[in-house]
């Protein structure tokens, strides 16, 4: 009872969210994908990289649920391992973007004036370049590979978070409790970290869910054009890319990774939309 009471703000949000069927659907799919990614070693029937040339180009059948690719690798297993990669890329790159963008946005919004101008004009420059193009440029500079891909996708999303955090900081820094914190002799850094950021988390959560979908798409796109994760590592984007050559005869090779991307992005977007409604007090009834 006591516990329930002190969590009531979270409870209201969850309650509102639970009324939104689509959002819950998205959440369930996302959780399934997450479990799939984490337990890939136990779920996947085959090693994702194991080649079996004798059984190459098999259409979906009882032994290979989603069929096999041009080297006889089991596509079902590769999809499962691909979930791990995609979610990892999603979480880490969005994590980078939130931390860096959040810090920049908070500093810009709190201190204002010249610092604000400097940081936000820099962000405007980054925003002028399309996100995917920027990520491509960064990977081209850093080299391919999982880590570099995450850094590239992360950096390209920084301006979005900087803007969101700055906007919330601008409203929250005028609140009386910030004034009160200043009047208690709190340092500026402490005010930002302890008093401002915890209160502007709501819009960030929404953007994180939606941004994760974007990050996964960007990462898949990068792998598709060969700048992301390279085969034999399992990644939905590069599976699409190899499948493309055989799309006339063996369309299942592109269909399954494509479906995986669509489902993941869709579930994240549904959840994000639901969260946005749940966290917005104006839409709450």
């Amino acid at each position: 009872m006591e516990e329930k009471k002190s969590r009531s703000q979270l409870m209201t949000v969850l309650k509102t969210l639970s009324r939104n069927k689509m959002a819950i659907f998205g959440l369930i799919i996302l959780l399934l994908l997450l479990i799939m990614g984490i337990l890939a070693d136990f779920i996947a029937p085959y090693d994702y990289a194991k080649q079996d040339l004798a059984n190459a180009f098999q259409h979906p059948n009882a032994k290979h649920l989603f069929g096999t690719d041009e080297f006889g690798r089991d596509i079902f297993s590769r999809i499962i391992y691909g979930a791990r990669t995609s979610l990892l890329v999603g979480f880490v790159s969005v994590g980078i973007a939130v931390v860096v963008g959040g810090a920049l946005g908070a500093v810009a919004g709190y201190y204002g004036k010249r610092i604000d101008n400097f940081i936000m004009r820099l962000m405007d420059v980054l925003l002028a370049i399309p996100q995917t193009l920027l990520a491509i440029a960064i990977v081209a500079a850093l080299g391919t590979g999982l880590t570099n891909l995450m850094i590239a996708v992360g950096i390209s999303a920084v301006p979005t978070y900087a803007r969101i955090v700055r906007a919330s900081v601008l409203t929250i820094r005028e609140e009386e409790y910030i004034e009160a914190a200043k009047a208690s002799g709190t340092t500026n850094v402490r005010i930002i970290v302890r008093h401002i950021l915890p209160n502007c988390i709501a819009p960030v959560i929404v953007q994180v869910t939606l941004g994760m979908a974007g990050a996964i798409l960007t990462a898949a796109g990068m792998s598709f054009i060969g700048l992301g994760i390279q085969p034999p590592n399992a990644e939905w984007g590069n599976m699409l890319s190899t499948g493309r050559d055989y799309i006339r005869g063996y369309s299942y090779m592109t269909m399954f990774p494509g479906l995986a991307i669509v489902i993941t992005v869709l579930s994240l977007n549904l959840l994000g939309d639901g969260l946005r409604d749940a966290l917005d007090p104006k839409l709450r009834n």
Binding site: E2, K5, S6, S8, Q9, E175, E176, Y177, E179, A180, A181, K182, A183, S184, G185, T186, T187, R194, H195, P198, N199, I201
Partner: protein, 329 residues
């Protein structure tokens, strides 16, 4: 008066630069508060009370605000000249503030206990556990059960939130508390409770206090001195007895007249005619002259200086400058 005052404000002027022109928020304000004294700071909205309080704490937003002259001596230190670090050491520990609206002066995402702990740990090097214990004790002192330290502000009523705010303000046993209309946002029965609480602590801890308020009743009850503020200036300054028994400035008289009387039935409340001057325009002469029932020729083009009625009572009004002369004769 040999002893040093806790707070001494001399000739303080503050202005705000706005798009409509310069707002003269505080004009040549003088006041002093001794140790363990309570000063009532009374005046209409926009008279510059809060600006003065913020300036004392060094929290005036600059720009648009700007201190154009004067000095604020707190315990011998000029609050306008000290650095940020020294100021942070003074704020909270030696001066703390109780804001007007308890609904917005607590951080909604932090447990109230943690907010008290935060204040204590900012100024004292003590372990988290001891600070928690101290926070619980403070909550009980203001009449809140210690279990509620784990609750968030939205779970408290307005009066209880203000109690929490008071607990935070008292956490480091400051020498001076600035209470900016601490009961305006509360309903009447709670107002009395909170005022009694504040009064009790003031006596127990021996802190000085600046009480900003519109309520002359509260002033009479707990203040030692009163400063009546009008258009950024203290127009009358005296002991409580002096103000209530012998109000001198026409504005002070007007304020007292507008209090409804309990023993007669009144259809209309007395009012002070007119409106306070636009803060952007600088009135030549006395700023109260356009509304003053006793306005004389001289009031229109000369600013009245300080006239002492007795050594603890001054007024800025030409009516009394003559009187002083008479008294001398």
């Amino acid at each position: 008066m040999g002893e040093q005052n806790l707070l001494d404000i001399k000739n303080l002027s503050v202005e705000y630069k706005t798009e409509d022109g310069i707002v003269y928020a505080v004009n040549e304000l003088n006041m002093e508060i001794g140790h363990k004294e309570t000063l009532g700071f009374v005046g209409e909205t926009g008279a510059g009370k809060t600006t003065t309080a913020m300036t004392i704490m060094g929290l005036l937003p600059t720009p648009p605000g700007k201190v154009t002259s004067g000095e604020i001596l707190f315990d011998g230190r000029d609050m306008l000249k000290i650095g940020d670090k020294e100021r942070r050491g003074i704020l909270g520990e030696e001066i703390s503030i109780i804001f007007q609206d308890p609904m917005t002066s607590l951080n909604p995402s932090m447990k109230v206990g943690d907010q008290i702990v935060e204040m204590i740990r900012l100024h004292k090097t003590i372990s988290k556990k001891d600070a928690m214990e101290e926070a619980d004790r403070l909550l009980e002192m203001v009449g809140i059960r210690r279990e509620r330290a784990n609750d968030y502000p939205h779970q408290f009523s307005g009066g209880m939130k203000q109690r929490v705010v008071i607990a935070i303000a008292l956490a480091c046993q400051p020498k001076l508390i600035i209470a900016d209309e601490p009961t305006t946002a509360l309903d009447v029965t709670i107002q009395a409770q909170v005022m009694n609480l504040i009064k009790g602590f003031k006596e127990k801890l021996g802190t000085s206090m600046i009480l900003i308020t519109h309520d002359l009743g509260i002033v009479a009850e707990i203040c030692d001195k009163v400063a009546i503020m009008y258009a950024g200036q203290v127009v009358e300054y005296a002991d409580v007895e002096g103000i209530y028994l012998n109000p001198c400035h026409p504005y002070t008289k007007g304020l007292f007249n507008s209090i409804p009387k309990l023993d007669t039935e009144e259809e209309w409340l007395e009012e002070i005619h007119g409106l306070p001057p636009e803060p952007t325009e600088r009135i030549e002469g006395c700023s109260f002259s356009p509304r003053c029932p006793n306005c004389m020729k001289i009031c229109k083009h000369k600013k009245p200086g300080i006239t002492y009625i007795d050594d603890r009572h001054y007024v800025r009004c030409f009516l009394y400058e003559n009187q002083e002369v008479k008294a001398d004769e």
